[in-house]
Symmetry: C2
């Protein structure tokens, strides 16, 4: 007979009266009225097992059960007594009367209760195996699998084929820092782990595979922020012979299908917004549309105000002045407190802002009035240094109502966008925001398109690629790459969901002469181009097809889907923010012999082990 006939969590009333064999873990043992109840757990859920004392040997075994013992139960599925039905469980209408009980493996006492929700991340990652037994982690990883499988099914149905590209690749010291792998065979040389299969997938298009995908690990050796891992998983896709719009439509369909089939969520239409528009309205190229706040442009009306912070920014090359109206923020009861406002002023400093001016709008019908208190309905030290016309514009453009509060950002464009974009989110997602309808829960997908090709790097005094140097310019923009790179718009697109960039890509350059112009704009000389990307330039000469693609971040998508606090909660064995695996203790020192074979030695003499 097989060890297990059914999953614990899937035993339902359909099996009533049948004998089942279950395997799982003791989640809890309760003694009640001389009977032992065991909540038996497996990946599919729980089932209640009843051990009656009339089977003495079995009962004795049951008495010895402790949490996390792995056991096998053979027994009869029967209805639970009235009043004990658990509507939260699939198996909540039944229980299993135990006939035979076998301890497959006992357990020592776990270092924590599995249902303890207040564990430190260090505890969880050190005891990851037990942490993974928790239904939360089981569900996260099963949803991750289902998501990846739905992606595969969709792509398979649309003619995409999974082709593996190398993990041991070539180091290109552009972009992020590479993880390096010393070569034993070729002394003094190194492989690099891929930051993405970008060039290989383009080569596969030139090779005629037409539609490619891969769900694959990528690597970046960067200092880790909350949502980064040294290795992360990318859904990497490329197609030939489709235009930008067709590519977007196809992958909007893919993501919609995945959400439908995993969460039963209908993502609806994806609004399409130009990059410039997104920055203008939200100060971000990945706006969270669940937050109902928008920036109001004021640069044009602040050039001649006395308030130097505003006029300075308005007159500076690349300066910007914006308002962020917070409805209800100035209400006496339920508005933002002085402490909250001070907190936001501190918060925007993270993004380089020097301060956070604001106006409380209380009785705007009152102003403008006398010289000393020109706008008695507006509470703000800055009002006196802003002329009437500008104040009127602020009120008109923001549409401010009595009780509203208006924050201002005035600085270089980047500082204003970063700070005010972040403030917009911070307030929208705050308790105040949620209470006052500034945040609307749900799924808000969108496309951000029309990214600029280049941005000017002040430090290096040259243009750099906003996306990557293989992104195609919009039709007709090719010549601007030479004459006016800053005007050049790319055929690039990002998919944004609830403020997270979950995917992005572009139509690529398929013509060698256009690629050359990009390198020219980036001041990458022929020799450098040949050395770094020679194999791509070579390939473009042989009838490369028009092609494009994108990549989605699987970790991010699943984090969003599960509502997990951290990307680490959707990865079985993640690294800490110090890039360490607390379970296996990797990375570790290695034998001197291994280093010798790889033709390397440790740099600091105090680190070298004695040979």
């Amino acid at each position: 007979m097989v060890m297990r006939s059914h999953y614990c969590g899937l035993v339902t009333e359909a099996l009533m009266g049948q004998t089942v064999s279950l395997c799982g873990w003791v989640n809890r043992r309760r003694d009640h009225g001389g009977v032992i109840f065991v909540d038996l757990r497996d990946r599919e859920g729980y089932v209640q097992v009843v051990c009656d004392p009339d089977r003495a040997a079995m009962f004795e075994t049951a008495e010895g059960l402790r949490n996390e013992f792995c056991i096998q139960v053979k027994g009869l599925v029967r209805a639970r007594p009235e009043g004990t039905i658990n509507e939260h469980l699939k198996s909540g209408k039944i229980e299993v009367l135990c006939h035979e009980l076998t301890v497959l493996n006992p357990s020592v006492t776990p270092p924590f209760q599995l249902d303890d929700d207040n564990l430190s991340e260090t505890t969880r990652l050190t005891h990851r195996v037990l942490d993974l037994r928790r239904p939360y982690m089981q569900n996260n990883l099963m949803l991750r699998y289902k998501t990846a499988m739905e992606v595969r099914k969709f792509l398979d149905a649309h003619g995409f084929i999974d082709i593996e590209t190398p993990m041991l690749g070539k180091s290109t010291p552009e972009g992020a820092r590479d993880y390096l792998v010393p070569s034993r065979v070729h002394a003094g040389t190194f492989f690099a782990l891929p930051q993405s299969p970008q060039l290989f997938k383009q080569l596969l298009m030139v090779a005629g595979f037409d539609r490619y995908y891969q769900i694959t690990k990528c690597f970046r050796d960067e200092d880790l922020r909350a949502d980064r891992q040294p290795e992360f998983t990318q859904i990497d896709i490329e197609t030939s012979f489709l235009a930008e719009q067709e590519i977007r439509d196809l992958f909007q369909d893919m993501i919609s299908t995945v959400f439908k089939n995993t969460l039963n969520v209908d993502l609806g239409e994806f609004p399409v917004m130009a990059y410039a528009q997104a920055m203008h309205r939200y100060g971000s190229d990945k706006p969270d549309l669940r937050v109902k706040l928008e920036l109001t442009e004021l640069t044009d009306v602040m050039a001649d105000v006395d308030f130097k912070v505003f006029s300075g920014a308005a007159n500076m090359k690349g300066g910007r002045v914006v308002a962020l109206r917070i409805p209800g923020g100035a209400r006496e009861a339920g508005g933002l407190s002085r402490g909250e406002i001070d907190g936001y002023a501190e918060f925007v400093k993270i993004y380089g802002a020097k301060g956070l001016a604001y106006i409380k709008v209380n009785e705007q019908a009152k102003g403008p009035g006398d010289k000393a208190l020109r706008w008695p309905g507006l509470q703000s030290p800055i009002v006196k240094n802003i002329h009437d016309q500008a104040i009127a514009q602020i009120l008109a453009r923001t549409g401010a109502q009595d009780g509203d509060l208006i924050f201002f950002g005035a600085d270089k464009v980047k500082v204003v966008n970063d700070a005010m974009g972040a403030l917009r989110l911070k307030i929208g997602l705050s308790e105040f925001g949620r209470k006052n309808g500034l945040f609307e829960a749900g799924w808000r997908p969108m496309w951000v398109v029309d990214f600029p090709m280049f941005e000017f790097d002040d430090e290096a005094q040259r243009y750099t690629a906003v996306h990557h140097p293989f992104t195609a310019p919009k039709d007709g923009h090719e010549d601007w790459m030479v004459t006016a790179p800053e005007k050049c718009i790319a055929k690039g697109y990002d998919m944004v969901l609830n403020g997270w960039e979950i995917g992005g890509g572009s139509v690529r350059i398929h013509q060698a002469d256009v690629q050359q112009k990009v390198f020219d704009a980036l001041k990458i000389g022929p020799e450098e181009a040949q050395q770094k990307f020679g194999f791509l330039l070579d390939a473009l000469q042989y009838g490369a097809p028009p092609h494009g693609g994108l990549a989605f971040g699987l970790d991010r998508i699943v984090t969003l889907m599960t509502g997990a606090d951290s990307i680490r909660d959707v990865i079985a064995f993640p690294k800490t923010q110090r890039a360490q695996d607390l379970l296996t203790q990797a990375p570790t020192p290695v034998d001197e012999k291994q280093l010798r074979e790889l033709h390397i030695k440790l740099r600091s003499s105090d680190l070298v082990k004695p040979e």
Copy 2:
């Protein structure tokens, strides 16, 4: 309008009379009777495009076409004229009359003809992108994808979930050599790329995921043989709560399903053979059952013959004497020539054999006769030193007929098995073997089971694990691990197909005390065990479930399926046997700055770049 309405290779008579838009590459352009014919190619195959001179602009474009131009054709599907139908093509009954022709991208002249079958591997790998355009490589990689996808579908239907395990892991200096990745954050330490996810998949079972799989890259930094790559792809599987037989049945079903759904091949029943039996009959633990030859055991009858080579091996501890009967090998016409026999004698030396004795059986009815020429029907210098009883046993056990040739191997068991096992294959697969029915084409899968737990390492003077130290012993063999390790049989199994080990695995140890006994047998002390496998030993304490699994080599399976000469023909971007990527030139030297950040330097001073 979309750029492409159909794949070239899939335009059939079902589209007759319709206008199609095709994109692809010019495989060949022929001018015939004032008309231009273009064989247009995409990943799905070819279609014939006809360009008539009556559309002058289009015709002029057509005149400029060269091989590998990427073009778009809009035209009418019509029947080919009688007598020009090509039965080898799906599109062979039709042609497309070209209305509009667009050159999407021209091509310089390729460095070789795509249909040249005599390219060096260096040429192919250097120009891999063009090499991949060849239908052979397109089909190989598409079959690879289909195979992997069929595996996923089967596993999905059986409740297995794909869980990703880390690429940046811990170095364990057992087994093969690790690829190392220096850590930047933790000076002096290294990650290792996984040789397999073995320990992680066991941890996932302990974590209760129940059924796991992953199609993932594994890495071994070994000197490469013909069928090895530094990175290779493993179908890695683990399950809880199944016994050995159930695991084998399930994955036999999986492989059979995959072959059925990809190649429409029925693999039939898989014979199950004990390891000892396989070594005994074939001298190999991965016998190619397509070869109809078997070894004949003679050790027991050679102890007292005068021929020292035989009696020496028969009396040696761990010696073996076998015969390999070659039906028809001694026939005057069509038998093995003197040169061939000498060649085989050289061949077995590769495996450590010192020579290759043989007997030609011509008229066995004649012997035994007089002293000088005791067996006039047997031609061999060794006969005179083998007594009658042993000769009679040779003839009886091998079942030799007139015209047969009998080869002998006599040495240590390992040498005999390696040499005679290889000779068996060599002759079976030779032209002689194929002509004489010693080889039967087709698919011959099998299971090899009951592997020994341990083998004695003469050099290290200790036992080592035949599989790996987490393999469970057969029930009842546990105590032998202490008292008689050499008698211990493991719950291990290999799937063998046509002489290739395509998969293998075992039931694992799930009890900490049994695991401890294995470490004892292997003389791995508690401290060493804790340091290397502490996280596994720790996990085993918390109610680890009975579990087991296996791993298949995807590269090998697809190589077999495609009949490719080399594993490199089923990998898009393989490394050479010198572990180099000829396309990108990886591995390469890197910047000194990169090395500094990683706290390492090159060992040979002459390799260090000036800072």
